[in-house]
Point group: C2
Chain length 349, copies 2
C-alpha cells in the first residue's frame, strides 16, 4: 500500500460540471484505494452529490466557493478577478502542499495562466507546454506543445524535447526516449529556421534522449518516436486534425453498420472485436492535457468529456504524482539544462 494521494479538483469547471467531476472522482476512488480528493466549488450543490456517491464518502473534503471562471473568460481577467474561484483555490492547494496535483475541465487559458502564476515554472524552463498522449500503431506517443505557446524559438523546442523525454522515462519507463521534431518533411534541410536551429542543438547537445530527427504529421499515428516536439500552433492543429478524422471514421463506421440488416447482424457477430476497437481508439482514454514545466502537477481535462474521461485525467495526475514527475523534471533540467541553450557565438572585438 502506498501513501495517500490527495488531488485537488476544480469541481465547477467544464460543460457538465460538477456531475462528471464527482462521478469521475468516484470511478478513480473505486479503483485506487489511496486516492483522496479536495473539491473546490459550491458546497450546497456538492454536499448532497458526494453523499450520494459511497466511494467518495470519507475520502473527500469540500471547500466552498461561489466563484467560477467562465469558459470564455480571458486569462488576464481570470488572473485578476478569479482569486476566489474554484479553479484558483484548487491550484493554491497544490502550492500550499495540501494537494499533490490539480485537475480541471475548465477554461484552458485561465488554467495555464493561473498554474504558471501560482506554481511558477521550473528553473531552466522559459515556457511551460501542454502535452498529451496519442494512440499509435506501436506504443503510445507523447506530443508537445499543443497550444500554450503559438510562437516558439529553438531553445523552447529543445526544452520541450527534454520535458517530453523525462515524461516518457518516468511514466512509461522508456530508458532513453526517442524524440522527433515535427516538420513538413523528414529530410535534414526541410523546414523553417527555428526548427533547423532546434535540430542543430538536439543533434549536438548531450541530453538524456535519443534525437531521431524530423518527423511528419503521419508519424504521430505511426508511433515513430516516443516524443514529438512542435510549436503550440502546429501542435494544436495536428491534435485537432487527428481528433476530427477519428470522429469522422467512427461516424462512417456506425453508418456502415446500420446501413442494412446483414450489416447489423455482422456487427452483432463482430461485437466483442468492435468493442475492443472502440476502446482502443476511445478519445476518453487519452483525455488530459498535461502542463509540463511547472513546479507542480496540473492537468487540463477536455471540457466536454464524461465521467470516464475525467477519471482518465485524474489517473494521469495520479501517475505523475506517484512517479514524482516534478522532482525528476527539475533534476534533469538542473543536470542538462545548460545544454538546451544555443551555442554562443564567439564575439570578435
Amino acid at each position: 500500500m502506498g501513501k495517500n494521494i490527495i488531488i485537488a479538483l476544480d469541481a465547477m469547471g467544464g460543460d457538465e460540471a460538477p456531475a462528471i467531476i464527482l462521478d469521475g472522482a468516484a470511478l478513480v476512488a473505486e479503483s485506487k484505494p489511496d486516492s483522496h480528493f479536495l473539491l473546490f466549488g459550491d458546497a450546497a450543490i456538492l454536499n448532497p452529490m458526494v453523499e450520494a456517491l459511497p466511494s467518495l464518502r470519507g475520502r473527500t473534503e469540500i471547500r466552498h466557493t461561489d466563484q467560477v471562471i467562465a469558459a470564455d473568460e480571458k486569462p488576464s481577467q481570470a488572473l485578476r478577478r478569479g482569486r476566489q474561484s474554484s479553479m484558483r483555490l484548487a491550484i493554491d492547494a497544490v502550492r500550499n502542499g495540501e494537494a499533490a496535483g490539480i485537475v480541471s475541465a475548465g477554461n484552458t487559458g485561465a488554467l495555464m495562466a493561473m498554474s504558471k502564476f501560482v506554481l511558477k515554472t521550473l528553473p531552466g524552463i522559459d515556457r511551460p507546454a501542454i502535452a498529451s498522449v496519442f494512440p499509435s500503431a506501436g506504443d503510445d506517443t507523447v506530443m508537445l506543445d499543443l497550444g500554450a505557446n503559438l510562437d516558439c524559438d529553438a531553445e523552447n523546442l529543445v526544452q520541450f524535447a527534454m520535458m517530453g523525454a523525462t515524461w516518457a522515462r518516468v511514466l512509461w519507463g522508456r530508458d532513453r526516449p526517442t524524440v522527433g521534431l515535427l516538420n513538413v518533411g523528414a529530410e535534414d534541410m526541410k523546414g523553417h529556421v527555428t526548427i533547423q536551429d532546434a535540430q542543430t542543438i538536439l543533434r549536438s547537445a548531450d541530453l538524456p534522449l535519443q534525437f531521431h530527427g524530423f518527423v511528419e504529421g503521419d508519424d504521430i499515428a505511426k508511433g515513430t518516436t516516443d516524443v514529438i516536439v512542435t510549436d503550440g500552433f502546429s501542435g494544436n492543429i495536428a491534435l485537432k486534425s487527428a481528433e476530427g478524422t477519428a470522429k469522422l471514421y467512427s461516424q462512417f463506421l456506425r453508418e456502415a453498420f446500420s446501413s442494412s440488416l446483414l450489416a447489423k447482424i455482422g456487427y452483432l457477430l463482430a461485437g466483442p472485436a468492435m468493442r475492443r476497437l472502440r476502446q482502443k481508439v476511445d478519445p476518453r482514454r487519452y483525455n488530459g492535457g498535461i502542463f509540463l514545466g511547472l513546479n507542480g502537477i496540473s492537468i487540463k481535462s477536455h471540457g466536454g468529456t464524461d465521467a470516464t474521461g475525467f477519471a482518465a485525467a485524474i489517473s494521469l495526475a495520479s501517475d505523475m504524482i506517484e512517479g514524482d514527475l516534478s522532482r525528476r523534471l527539475a533534476e534533469d533540467l538542473q543536470r542538462f539544462g545548460s545544454a538546451t541553450e544555443p551555442p554562443r557565438q564567439v564575439s570578435v572585438s
Copy 2:
C-alpha cells in the same frame, strides 16, 4: 460530346512509374472518351506498354526523353539541370499549348519550382499554393496551402482564400463559398498576428466569398466550410496528421475483423457496407495536390499511389480544364485582386 482534352503526363515520376502512370491513364481513357495523353519518358519502355493497353491506342503520343528528375533532387538543381527531363518537357507542353494540363507523381518541390518557372504565376498572385480535397461529414472541403509556402503573410493567406473560393465555385458549383482560416481556437482574438491581420482583411474586403471566421483542426473533417486556408507548414501537418489517423483506424479495423472467427463471419455479412465505407474514405479518391495560382493547370499525384489513385489525379486535372479554372481564377483576381491587399497606412510626414 465536348472537344478533346489533351493532358501531358510525366510518365517517369513516382515510385511505380511508368506502370501506374499508364494504367491510370488507361482507366481515365475508358471512362472519358475525349481524353488524350502526351506521355513524356523513355520511348523504349513506354511504347510496348502503351501497345498492351487497348484503350490508350490512338489516343496517346509518346515523346522520348532519357532524363528523369530524381525523388531527392533539390528544386534548384532540377531547374538548372532538368531541362530535358520528362517532368520539365511535360510542363513545357502546357506552356506551348500542346496540352491543357500536366500531371506528375514525381518530386513535389521540383514540380512546383518548374511549374512556377515555366507557367508563371497569375497576375495578382505572389505565391502559388498547393490545395487538396478532404472528405468530411458534410460536403468535401478544399484546403490550402499544404506545403508550398512555409511562412505566409496576411496577403498570401487572403490570396489563398480567393483561389480556394474560385475552385469551390468552378469545380463544385458552390455559389458563394464559405472560407475558414485555420487557427487554434474559433474566438476572434485567438492566434498570432498574421492570421489576425488576414482575418481583418477577409472581414472587410469585398470578395466573392463568405468569410466564416476562424476554424480549428477538427473542422476539416466536420466540413464546417467549403474552403480552409492556412500556411504551408500547418497545412502540411494537418494533412499528414489526418492521413496518419485514417491509416491507423483502417489498420485497427482490419485487426478487429480478423481477431476471431465470429468477427470474420461478421465482416463477410457486413461486406458490402464495409466496401462502401472503404470507398468513402479511400485516400486514392482524394489523390491530387492542386497547384493553384499558376498560369496553367499542374497537378501533383501522391508518389506512392496506384493506377486508381493516379487516375483520380488525372480526372482532377480534366475537371479543372473543363471548368476553365485558370481563366476563371485570372478573372476573379483581376476583379477583386486589389481587395486582398492590407489597407495602406496614411503616412504622416
